[in-house]
């Protein structure tokens, strides 16, 4: 018997989730077939599970799903609109910033939060903003370039 039921908004849609006791937000997303947000460390050390909850950037592996009650959740699946990539996604694709891509949703969501606060960042600011995101493939050169490019694309819009 599910112990708990919550309502929240996920990527613009109202949903009702039944939760297992102790279920993390990341586990709940996966249980509801939203798997773009990755489980990489499960301990808050890689930012691979980054999502936006009520406008704040958080790591979904470190938070109980129950705490998202009545919340407004945005995941990587919610960025593209009607099949059109979000400028950050477009920039990551253009710059070749995703190699294996496993870290990419975390980078994109972190960049999403960061660019809202810093629409005209310089490289040092981008590096600092992404300091907690681990990538094993790219050496960070292209992800950093992609965030700078995304800022330009967002200006153009």
């Amino acid at each position: 018997m599910p112990e708990l039921e919550i309502v929240l908004t996920v990527n613009g849609r109202a949903v009702r989730w039944h939760l297992e006791p102790g279920e993390t937000l990341l586990e709940a997303l996966h249980a509801h077939h939203l798997k773009g947000t990755k489980l990489i460390c499960g301990t808050g050390d890689c930012c691979g599970c980054g999502v936006m909850l009520n406008g704040n950037s958080i790591n979904a592996c470190c938070m109980l799903a129950a705490q998202a009650e009545d919340g407004d959740l945005l995941t990587v699946e919610g960025l593209a609109q009607n099949g059109k990539l979000h400028p950050i996604q477009e920039a990551f694709a253009q710059e070749g910033a995703a190699q294996c891509g496993y870290c990419t949703p975390g980078f994109i969501m972190r960049a999403y939060a960061f660019l809202q606060e810093h629409p005209h960042p310089d490289e040092a600011e981008v590096r600092a903003a992404l300091a907690g995101n681990i990538c094993r493939c790219t050496g960070y050169v292209k992800p950093v370039a992609a965030v700078l490019r995304a800022a330009e694309l967002m200006q153009e819009q």
Partner: protein, 797 residues
């Protein structure tokens, strides 16, 4: 930060006069920064990885790991676990066939000893497998693990390879029980009594006599650590029986075909009953050049007849995954006072961990892939790999070469210092040249020794020239006053192969669709390096169409051509070579039909941007018209062909690494502030992907140089099993980086390409050690170069 130089059509094309040169010189798709074919799913978070694969009624599996470094299992009681509601299966060594095998993803017969069993009566490291559980939920599976009662007889353990080789050390493997499948002569442990998983010697010339000619003899011992791939997508797979009772395994693997064969052996099923499917893979770096979790999920699926999913946790990746061999490497060389290198020797002792997967080939590569970087009259190389009660070391990006190059390139720097020579000058004077034969590849034929491998392309001089110019090598710079910073500069060079000579097969089949698009079904394994994109570019170029006309299919052993998988820098050169053969055949089929329709000889025709050209120029026909003609018209047939490629060769990419470091003499902290990476890859099929390979490899190598090490306590337990304590590089650790791509055309490769994926992993660690010597005047001979090591070295000054 992103500073990238790429000049298409450089290299030796102009002077080659080679028949292939014109084609390589004027490409339309190859050489372009095409967007990755998988960019969209990766940036949108689409469920394309094995981790995201779902089946109805899927069970979740967990593994019980050994708490002891070495023990016999006397008794296992699974009754309590079995009785837990929701538990569907508990398997121990008593339930599984006992089949000696190696998990190394190598072609048959594997060159690794057959020393492993899916589950054994004995455990050989903390983390070794004891039992498997499948249950309705992960939580139930985990609870069941805690209810399995195991009675162990704890045995003495050994962790140090030097101790392990000594007389009287605890012996890990009993040769009587580790015989290969009966009657086979391969799969033997080299010397089980002395815990030697593997041994190799390569000699060329008279080393002792040549050393006597030397003016100066230089010696040194270097140590490289036990490190993790720290791959972001852990090992994960789903296994199930389909309606036809065949076993389907969806896995995050670099070696689908080797895994299929090994699964068949371990589970005693016919190969025809198994299908391995590889979706997108979230990184491999060699950790997935292995059969790891596939037999666990498969055995449980066969037992329960339900789909079974298993995924390693981050903790398990760091305790029971695969790792890079730590090594002790002794160098001894002789030089003339004028800077001529005469004789070069290396002795490496590797720690194989509990099972010898890849041990022979990795330790062999430590010398075999490295010493040939220098010309000398004599070479002596010896490698040993010792079993210890530590987790399993196996394949990792560079495959022994990063270990070997740390020793060799530190040692070469030490020689240059002893001679008072600029290290760049010393290297220029002694490095391998185009046309040289590989001294590590000598074979005896009719009493005559000759080398099997010639370096027909070699862009190392350009790497040194362009790299040193971009870096400003030899120019004055701010060395710091030691309050607290001191700065120094260092460099290193490296090489690698492109595939394993004689041990490769790869390619694709290509099929024309009615709209003029093509399905490319490749056996090559994209693990994030972008091979699907590279192969699509090769196919598009050879077919005369743009990238939008190519549809890539990932490996499915039921439908793709056989391919050895993604390792040893083989995908572009080997699988790409096969794709080009297939595409050339398909183009010929298209032109044969077009020639018939246009009354023109196919040899005189070509395809450009999907339009059929005759000597008079563009015709009114396109590839789509030919497709329509062949599917519905008079020339009815399916235009389709396969192509594959294998070779005795393995052309070498070359690499030069230049770095500037800043050392805080108070804290001992080392920061690399600037790096120039110059790579000769033959041809950059896609410059963005190529520079991405370089940047990622250099970052990984920077972690090897400065921070990464798996640490163990006295019982052999991992002390830093997580990203909090095992430090990989972050954005803040990365230097300002310049990557230079150099194209010294390799005519045996597709459009002149060699490889890019591994060689840039080899230069950073020695370059940093050399720069520290330049900054502080101290030589650090062991990795990682931690603040403690710097402070200790400064104390001893």
């Amino acid at each position: 930060m992103d500073n990238e130089y790429y000049e298409p059509g450089g290299g030796n094309i102009a002077d080659a006069g080679h028949q292939y040169a014109r084609q390589i010189g004027r490409t339309r798709v190859v050489g372009q920064k095409e967007r990755r074919v998988d960019a969209r799913p990766l940036v949108t978070g689409a469920p394309v990885y094995a981790a995201e694969y779902e089946q109805p009624n899927m069970l979740h599996a967990r593994i019980l790991h050994s708490p002891h470094a070495h023990a016999n299992i006397l008794h296992i009681d699974t009754s309590k676990a079995n009785a837990l509601p929701g538990v569907r299966a508990v398997l121990t060594h008593e339930d599984l066939p006992r089949v000696a095998h190696s998990t190394a993803g190598q072609p048959y017969p594997e060159t690794s000893p057959y020393d492993a069993y899916l589950l054994d009566r004995r455990v050989r490291y903390v983390g070794d497998w004891v039992a498997f559980v499948a249950a309705d939920t992960p939580a139930i599976a985990e609870e069941a693990l805690s209810m399995i009662a195991v009675e162990y007889e704890v045995l003495p353990a050994v962790f140090d390879p030097l101790e392990a080789m000594r007389e009287g050390a605890p012996q890990l493997h009993d040769p009587d029980t580790t015989h290969p499948i009966s009657g086979q002569h391969f799969g033997d442990i080299y010397d089980a009594a002395h815990n030697l998983a593997a041994h190799e010697e390569i000699h060329h010339g008279d080393f002792a006599a040549t050393m006597r000619e030397a003016d100066i003899v230089v010696e040194g011992e270097y140590r490289v650590p036990f490190i993790s791939h720290a791959v972001l997508e852990p090992h994960v797979c789903v296994a199930y029986l389909d309606g036809y009772d065949r076993l389907i395994v969806v896995s995050s693997t670099q070696v689908p075909y080797h895994t299929r064969r090994q699964l068949a052996a371990v589970l005693q099923l016919p190969i025809s009953r198994i299908r391995v499917v590889k979706p997108r893979v979230g990184g491999g770096f060699g950790s997935k050049q292995e059969m790891v979790l596939e037999p666990v999920a498969a055995a449980l699926a066969l037992n329960t007849r339900q789909p079974v999913r298993i995924e390693y946790s981050r903790q398990e990746e760091f305790t029971a995954g695969r790792f890079r061999h730590p090594m002790i490497i002794r160098m001894r060389s002789g030089v003339k006072r004028d800077g001529t290198l005469l004789a070069l020797s290396m002795h490496s002792i590797g720690n194989a961990g509990a099972y010898g997967t890849h041990s022979f080939t990795v330790t062999r590569s430590t010398g075999h892939k490295t010493l040939c970087l220098y010309r000398a009259k004599a070479y002596a190389f010896r490698a040993d790999a010792a079993y210890t009660n530590l987790p399993i070391t196996g394949a990792m990006r560079g495959y022994g070469a990063p270990q070997g190059f740390f020793a060799l390139e530190s040692h070469i720097d030490e020689i240059a210092h002893r001679l008072n020579m600029d290290p760049l000058e010393f290297r220029r004077k002694n490095h391998v040249q185009k046309g040289d034969w590989d001294p590590m590849e000598m074979v005896e034929e009719d009493g005559v020794w000759r080398s099997k491998r010639q370096f027909r392309s070699c862009g190392l001089p350009q790497c040194l020239e362009r790299g040193s110019a971009a870096f400003g090598w030899g120019k004055p710079f701010d060395r710091g006053d030691g309050k607290p910073f001191r700065r120094g500069r260092g460099m290193a060079t490296a090489m690698q192969g492109s595939g394993v000579a004689s041990f490769e097969l790869g390619g694709a089949s290509i099929k024309l669709n009615e709209d003029g698009s093509f399905n490319v079904m490749t056996g090559a394994t994209d693990i994030g390096q972008g091979s699907d994109t590279i192969l699509a570019q090769i196919a598009a170029e050879a077919l005369g169409v743009d990238m939008g006309k190519i549809i890539m299919h990932s490996v499915d052993t039921d439908s793709s051509v056989f391919d050895y998988g993604s390792y040893a820098s083989s995908t572009t050169y080997i699988s790409g070579g096969g794709v080009k053969v297939a595409a050339d055949r398909v183009r010929k089929q298209v032109l044969d039909v077009a020639g018939d329709l246009l009354d023109c000889s196919p040899e005189d025709m070509s395809i450009v941007d999907s339009v059929i050209y005759t000597p008079r120029g563009p015709s009114h026909l396109t590839v789509a018209d030919i497709a329509s003609e062949t599917l519905y018209g008079k020339h009815r047939q399916q235009i389709m062909a396969k192509g594959d490629f294998w070779t005795d060769d393995s052309p070498a990419p070359f690499f030069a690494q230049f770095v500037e470091v800043e050392v805080d003499t108070e804290t001992g902290r080392v920061r690399v502030t600037r790096a120039v990476n110059a790579l000769d890859l033959g041809k950059a099929i896609n410059p963005t992907l190529a520079s991405g390979q370089v940047e990622g490899a250099v970052a990984m190598a920077l972690g090897y140089a400065l921070s990464e090490e798996v640490k163990f306590d006295e019982q052999g337990r991992v002390r830093n099993a997580g990203f909090a304590d095992y430090k990989v590089m972050s954005t803040l650790d990365m230097p300002e980086m310049t990557t230079i791509l150099i194209e010294d055309t390799e005519y045996s490769g597709p459009f002149g390409a060699k490889s890019a994926g591994e060689v840039p992993t080899n230069g950073m660690a020695p370059a940093v050690a050399n720069a520290i010597q330049d900054a502080l005047g101290v030589r650090i001979r062991s990795l990682p170069i931690t603040p403690e090591k710097i402070l200790q070295a400064l104390d001893e000054l």
